[in-house]
């Protein structure tokens, strides 16, 4: 195998190797392009993660409310809608079908649509995890909150959710990492992210192996950074004696 890592230092118009590997005066090299693609991947992922956490928390909570059958049904419908349709199909629905029904959405950039699609898709999964987390708590916790005279909002805010979130941090870490990997579907609506870069750059340079290795490395770094951040949060939010530390196994 003869490697040709110089390919990243070439400019994207004449394919000449540029001094210092970064383009000047508006010209861009493949390295510039790779970095910008990484930026798009990270932006799509983080924006979608914020939406997924907010919407997922709301829907997950709604699904556990007592004596609110219609709210619970709405939550169920949301989860089933967004987790039963493949992600790539959802992206196309947002991009091609929904704007055909509401023409005003034609002006919305692909970036926003993909963030919404990825965010809602993941929100269904987070909602399900949060519901499981809340339902895993002993029933007595809810009653204790009520006995203190808390309103429903208050006992969720001060009693149930702080415990439930701690329980679900490990699966939440997986979701946060998945969002980085799933963000690759954004290429389908022409967001210039890593997958699109890989497909295009390998075609232009014929150095597919180098391009795919670089892109793989960046996906791994991104997912691993989020993994470390979540691990840090898990460690900091741990309550001694309540939830056993990860890795110590069952007692």
């Amino acid at each position: 195998m003869n490697w040709d890592w110089q390919v990243f230092c070439e400019d994207t118009i004449e394919r000449q190797v540029v001094q210092g590997c970064f383009g000047k005066n508006g010209d861009i090299t493949y390295l510039d392009w790779l970095m910008s693609a990484w930026g798009w991947t990270v932006s799509v992922s983080l924006c979608a993660l914020v939406i997924a956490l907010i919407v997922g928390s709301i829907i997950g909570t709604l699904r556990t409310l007592p004596d609110r059958p219609w709210t619970v049904r709405f939550g169920n419908a949301w989860v089933e809608l967004f987790r039963n349709v493949p992600l790539l199909v959802q992206i196309f629905l947002w991009y091609h079908v929904v704007p055909a029904i509401f023409p005003v959405l034609k002006q919305v950039p692909g970036f926003l649509l993909v963030v919404l699609a990825l965010g809602f898709f993941t929100s269904a999964r987070i909602a399900e995890q949060l519901r499981a987390g809340i339902q895993a708590l002993p029933r007595g916790q809810r009653y204790a909150g009520m006995a203190l005279g808390f309103t429903t909002f208050q006992y969720y805010r001060y009693v149930l959710l702080p415990m439930a979130y701690r329980i679900i941090i490990p699966p939440l870490t997986s979701e946060a990492m998945n969002i980085f990997k799933n963000s690759s579907v954004a290429f389908a609506v022409s967001v210039a992210e890593l997958t699109l870069f890989a497909m295009q750059a390998q075609e232009e340079t014929s150095r597919g192996i180098e391009v795919y290795l670089a892109v793989t490395g960046l996906y791994m770094i991104s997912a691993f950074v989020i993994n470390r951040i979540m691990a840090f949060i898990e460690k900091k939010s741990r309550i001694p004696g309540f939830i056993t530390a990860g890795g110590s196994g069952g007692h």
Partner: protein, 299 residues
């Protein structure tokens, strides 16, 4: 690599000759009694009808090359195997011997010539602009400030980039995931123009709901020689393939094949592509050559 060595061993024994080499495709074909053709599943020059059937201008041409090879090698029977390829895997699969001859829609350029060899150019692709018939766009100058779509993983993106810089235009560039997706963006108004190979544009327009709503306009943005690809450093095999191509050009069968796939109704929908033989392709047939894209000047 093991397969190679095996082919080599079999070839050496069968031919009883010490001259057979590992890179000798003709010997491999002769000893195995089969040739593997690299084909495309959805391209302007070759596509599938499903159920393992591959058709198209370049696919049929490569079958005729196989016929000529069979005659040359004096084989009673030559089994033709088909291996579908994509833009991403075509070069490695030719290099590692999975495919003996790739006749799809591969542009012959200098970068690829480092990895593989090309037969004589059999089709010259022109990069063109497709727009909605009522858009009033007549050429690249009208594209200033417009949204332009091309397909990810094609050389048209580079063409667009070069034009952007040469003409000082500012336009928004979007990329479809495949040609069908790009065409949908033009159709649904997400893009004002679709820049792509002329044959692909013509094929997509012919297959659309209302073909009269679209037209191909303006200048030729770039010219790309399309040729069959094979392993490097195998002069005997390249000569055999080139000879077959010259034979097909001389006796007019290549022209007939072109007429069949571009001017007549073709399966599966029995719609005409309607793309007459371009002057550039005619020129390439009159003077058979394997010059890369870089040797072509845009007129």
């Amino acid at each position: 690599m093991k397969k190679h060595l095996l082919a080599f061993a079999v070839a050496a024994v069968a031919a009883g000759s010490a001259f057979a080499q590992a890179g000798d495709t003709l010997a491999k074909i002769k000893s195995s009694g089969s040739i593997t053709l690299g084909v495309r599943e959805s391209s302007g020059l070759g596509y599938t009808l499903g159920n393992g059937k591959y058709v198209g201008f370049h696919t049929e041409m490569s079958e005729r090359i196989a016929d000529d090879l069979q005659k040359q090698l004096g084989l009673a029977k030559l089994e033709v195997k088909y291996q579908p390829l994509t833009s991403q895997n075509r070069v490695p699969l030719v290099q590692n011997g999975t495919v003996d001859l790739e006749c799809g829609s591969t542009t012959n350029n200098q970068a690829r010539q480092k990895d593989a060899a090309f037969a004589f150019t059999t089709y010259v692709e022109e990069i063109r602009i497709a727009v909605k018939a009522n858009s009033g766009i007549t050429g690249i100058k009208d594209l200033n400030g417009k949204t332009i779509v091309t397909t990810t993983g094609t050389t048209s993106v580079q063409t667009l980039r070069k034009n952007k810089r040469a003409d000082g235009l500012t336009f928004k560039e979007v990329m479809g995931k495949d040609h069908a997706d790009s065409f949908l963006m033009l159709e649904s108004g997400r893009a004002d123009a679709f820049i792509m190979d002329g044959s692909i544009l013509a094929a997509n327009i012919s297959k659309s709901k209302v073909p009269a709503d679209f037209k191909i306009v303006g200048e030729v943005l770039s010219v790309e020689p399309i040729a069959c690809m094979m392993r490097k450093d195998d002069a005997a095999f390249k000569k055999a393939v080139d000879d077959s191509i010259v034979r097909q050009i001389k006796d007019g069968s290549l022209a007939k094949l072109y007429d069949k796939w571009f001017m007549q109704p073709i399966p599966p929908n029995n719609v005409k592509v309607g793309l007459p033989l371009s002057a550039a392709t005619k020129e390439a047939w009159e003077h058979p050559n394997d010059k890369p894209m870089e040797a072509y000047e845009v007129k």
